[in-house]
Symmetry: C2
Subunit: 474 residues, 2 copies
């Protein structure tokens, strides 16, 4: 611990108390490694304020003592976004003690949750009041409201409800100078200059600390239906999606995967089997959900899929006959990443292009990769309706794992990112930039990074907030 850090802890002990300052290395260790275990950092202490006023005190004191801070919620970043730097210069500011749901407005459908509220707990609290919070993702047992807002998180329901930005009515945050941005009153119209709440959403903790959010809820689920569809190519998938969206506003998930991904999942999961009898080059998993008890999503899917079958848009389809079957379908989807990992080393890319361009991109980008890197195999699966897929390039069979990551991965990633950029797309659809994509962002979008850097310096002139994430330290 350096002298500035020691002085900061001494100044903060009367404010935070013993519970609010963690210096035991064993208790800190799990929070120094990222979710994917790729980035190993070091922080001599964790500061854990209990409320917004304590966050303000921490930020003011850290500013005085010039101690960098890494805001951290569930530490479930996919890009090393919440892991401290290796040099030990920064302390972790954990929001985990700020885990109160301040209120749920059961009439208006709004929840105000503190930054440390875990997504799964928010789901439960909303459900208990007859609502639901319609954003979910694999890390829902860890990810927190503050992190979800700071990374503009997505997930499998974006198609219908949008990302975290679309679900956020207002943000409470402490800016680097310790001032409070109170945007929680959830005004439907407010034109008082730059929207600081919008700036903080997706800022990855580089402009201060989100302390709470006012969140839009959706009506509780009254009925749902899950379908599995076999089809010839991604273009047919998009055509099906457009039909379904024209017929109904119930389509909440529309996930595409190639036959090889399905085969990998079936092989990976004990006792699993493919939902359809025949072989199909591509598959789609569809979830239709309604909050209206008078509407039947199953009947809607049956009618629409029947028509699509008759019109030759799709090759086969089955609607889950029970909740258990629906869960089995979803388990196949959720195990894709693990299943593919079992096939050998691969580099993964969280990319998006405009929705209409995605079917063609999926096919052409995979072919271009395969041609450019002989022996490797590229494919994508994911959120076709959002124009967002996880695009994986697997090493040639027999390639040594460490050598692949050390010698080939970065070259492959640059190639994929160039393809995405040429298609008007993004190198980060959902996961943010963090540490992992920082240099690629600088390479591909220097003007964007210049604007980001200027804003960052304006609000955080000493570079104390989440140093090294999003942009390199100055």
């Amino acid at each position: 611990m350096n002298a500035a850090q020691t002085a900061l802890l001494a100044a903060l002990r009367p404010v935070l108390g013993d519970r609010g300052i963690v210096t035991d290395p064993d208790l800190i260790a799990p929070w120094e490694i990222d979710w994917r275990r790729r980035f190993h950092g070091h922080a001599p202490a964790i500061l854990a304020p209990a409320d917004t006023a304590q966050v303000q005190a921490v930020l003011r004191a850290a500013g005085e003592h010039r101690v960098p801070l890494v805001p951290q919620g569930g530490n479930s970043s996919m890009v090393g976004g919440a892991t401290p730097p290796q040099d030990g210069a920064a302390l972790i500011l954990s929001t985990r003690r700020m885990n109160h749901i301040r209120r749920i407005d059961a009439e208006g459908g709004v929840a105000v949750a503190e930054a440390g509220v875990i997504l799964g707990d928010l789901h439960d609290a909303a459900e208990a009041q007859g609502w639901r919070f319609p954003l979910t993702l694999g890390a829902k047992g860890n990810a927190t409201v503050g992190g979800l807002a700071s990374t503009n998180a997505g997930g499998t329901q974006v198609l219908r409800f949008g990302t975290m930005r679309g679900l956020t009515l207002g943000i409470e945050a402490v800016l680097p100078d310790g001032s409070l941005h109170d945007g929680l009153s959830a005004l439907k119209k407010d034109n008082r200059g730059y929207d600081l709440g919008q700036l903080l959403i997706g800022a990855e903790g580089t402009l201060g600390v989100v302390t709470a959010a006012a969140l839009r809820l959706a009506p509780a689920i009254a009925g749902h239906a899950t379908a599995w569809v076999g089809l010839s190519d991604p273009a047919a998938g998009l055509a099906l999606l457009r039909r379904l969206q024209a017929a109904s506003d119930m389509i909440e998930s529309f996930e595409i995967l190639p036959a090889e991904s399905l085969a990998a999942a079936v092989a990976h999961l004990p006792g699993a089997r493919a939902p359809l009898e025949g072989a199909h080059p591509w598959h789609v998993l569809i979830e239709a959900v309604t909050g209206d008890p008078a509407v039947d999503p199953s009947a809607m899917l049956e009618a629409q899929l029947g028509r699509a079958l008759a019109d030759g848009v799709i090759a086969d389809a089955v609607i889950a006959a029970s909740d258990a079957q629906a869960e089995a379908f979803w388990l196949l989807r959720h195990s894709l990443s693990d299943a593919e990992r079992a096939l050998g080393p691969a580099v993964q890319h969280d990319i998006a292009v405009p929705v209409d361009a995605m079917p063609r991109f999926m096919v052409e980008a995979a072919a271009a990769c395969d041609a450019r890197f002989p022996g490797t195999h590229a494919s994508g699966f994911g959120h076709l309706g959002d124009g967002n897929i996880h695009f994986h390039v697997r090493a040639a069979p027999g390639t040594d794992r460490d050598r692949f990551y050390a010698e080939q991965a970065a070259t492959i990633t640059r190639f994929v990112h160039d393809l995405v950029t040429a298609a008007g797309g993004t190198i980060s659809a959902e996961h943010g930039i963090g540490q992992m994509k920082r240099d690629e962002l600088a390479r591909l979008s220097p003007e964007r990074v210049a604007a980001i850097r200027a804003i960052k310096r304006a609000l955080d002139p000493h570079g104390l907030f989440n140093p090294g994430k999003l942009i390199a330290c100055a």
Copy 2:
């Protein structure tokens, strides 16, 4: 014209040509006065680039020569936001020549329109393709896409479709350094750091120039119904709104007005009459709209209003029997401002509080104003469903107009703004800050202004963009 301006025009003449540089004072004059004719500025020239590349050239040259620019679309700001400063130091950068709709995606429901496209023209173009752009306001014959985005405009359909921010899928803009922010590819997910498009929406031209926007369209109107309702107080109005919203997603406008405002409108409009026979303290104008030919908004309103009548929520209601009658209802609403102006001098306030708090605020704030300023009369009307009303305080009968504005108006406005701030509200719901509310924003929200100023300096270090708007010149 000062030396820097002369040098700038010389540098730009080869780029913009004669059509792109206006120096005739008679042609400039209409653009030096604001919409409400309260702010009189002076600009020695108007620069009128024809495309985005020309805007980049203008901004680079203006940066070199340190010439301030006032971006201007239709000059329909309600807060003097697009009027040049009086000292003649700034030139107007008009977007009016950039009036092309680049494309309308008739399948996906997206329009890409340049900054100078007039709102009414966008309405027509969308309609011609079987869609509509669901944002409208009084100045639709003048207001442009760039100005609507830069002020996050609202209007009478916000209840259902949100403000301009909610309708904007992406922004193309030129930043003060001349770099292009190309956010038009309309990615549904993009997490590459701070959302510059969101920052530019509502920035009032102080961070560069919006050159185009990708905009979400709504299905063309298949049917609509208009109702006029009499009720006892604003709380009953909100109760009715909640019932209608629970029953249907068709409620697009929900405008409240007191009996005295209706009386003023009826007196002001030749041949007009009140929609209901009896006298009611408060009135609501409702518009229900559907894009689905199978749905009957009239039947829905009839059923719901009948039930509300039976339950004692409302006192009387009538549904327009023809388009002509519906237009007559709306004409009453749209003439409220003119009608009230005819009653004598008044100060107007474009304010919002949380929706649930508005009924009480309307009644209590009016009473507080009347008590504090004896002889004056306060009342509000407008977008109850958005928590946004136009709150007017009329001078005591017989007060001299000029004396009222010179001696009383500012004091009254500060009093009203204090009430709004205490209620967790905003002093600008729709109109922005511009010149008119700049000092009030600084008085009431010094920390917000500090953050705005820091960001402004970061992106516009020489203070060249729309100087004196939003924040005072440094």
